[in-house]
């Protein structure tokens, strides 16, 4: 009687754990993504102020130089194998910032270097970045054309 009760108790407990465990992991992954993503943007803001006040950059030049600096950091961290470790911890927090874009270019370039410099390194560089550029440029051309023709008809 008591052993049966214990078994039921265990079963219920295991089901309870199963129900709870993935949810807490999910909540934790959201928190990690928030923390790391926010921190990378904090560094971005720091670089922005650095370029603004020490080099006197502004406007497009400031935005371009800031993203170049962050991409440099992303590539170097990928080269040392650090960014993959950050990715395991942060998930979306390391993918979405521009450093994640740099990682998605740099990582396959390093990995496929052994398959040659043309069909390995250079072509595999665009495995992830290629779709972004293809759809980004196409959508920007569409946006530009729409604005151009709206400008013609309203002028």
């Amino acid at each position: 009687m008591t052993t049966k009760n214990n078994q039921n108790y265990n079963k219920e407990y295991i089901e309870y754990v199963k129900k709870i465990a993935p949810k807490t992991n999910e909540a934790r992954s959201l928190f990690h993504a928030f923390l790391v993503g926010g921190f990378i943007c904090l560094i971005g803001q720091f670089i922005r102020y650095l370029f603004l006040y020490t080099f006197g950059l502004f406007g497009d030049e400031l935005a371009g130089a800031t993203s170049m600096a962050l991409i440099f950091i992303g590539c170097v961290l990928t080269g040392f194998g650090v960014y993959d470790n950050i990715g395991h911890f942060a998930g979306g927090g390391s993918i979405v910032p521009i450093t994640g874009f740099a990682n998605s270019v740099c990582s396959p370039a390093m990995e496929f270097k052994s398959e040659g410099f043309v069909y390995g390194l250079a072509s595999k560089m665009f495995v992830v970045a290629g779709p972004i550029i293809v759809y980004g440029v196409s959508a920007s051309v569409l946006t530009g054309l729409i604005y151009y023709f709206i400008g013609i008809f309203t002028a």
Binding site: R48, K113, S114, S140, V141, T143, I146
Partner: protein
């Protein structure tokens, strides 16, 4: 002084929130990182096509420009301002203003890949 500190806080929270939305998408739909990047880039581009994303950048600074949606913003913004100069500007403006990021990613990746020794990934 306080303005700068407040800007850091806004950048942290807005950037973190965008990354958290990405993580929610990953958890719910199991999308791969390449698709997440394309979706967020297009989201930023479409928001700026309607003239919305620039307000987020005015508010949060790097919190809105550092995520890949800021890259989409640049593509849309370049195309819109290029369209004022004519048809040629409308077509080339997007890639023109995004050229800094793409050039940096290609050149730095090439240098790092040439220097680094290929090593087995540790999981």
């Amino acid at each position: 002084m306080w303005e700068i500190i407040f800007m850091y806080i806004k950048a942290f929270f807005v950037g973190g929130a965008i990354c958290m939305i990405a993580q929610i998408l990953i958890n719910v739909t199991k999308l791969t990182s390449g698709r997440i990047l394309v979706i967020f880039m297009l989201a930023g581009l479409i928001l700026q096509a309607f003239g919305v994303y620039e307000y987020l950048i005015d508010f949060a600074g790097a919190g809105a420009t550092v995520p890949i949606s800021g890259f989409g913003y640049l593509l849309a913004q370049g195309a819109i301002s290029g369209a004022k100069n004519g048809l040629f500007g409308a077509i080339t403006g997007g890639l023109k203003s995004a050229s800094a990021g793409i050039t940096a990613a290609i050149v730095f990746s090439l240098i790092v890949a040439l220097i680094s020794r290929p090593k087995s990934k540790v999981h």
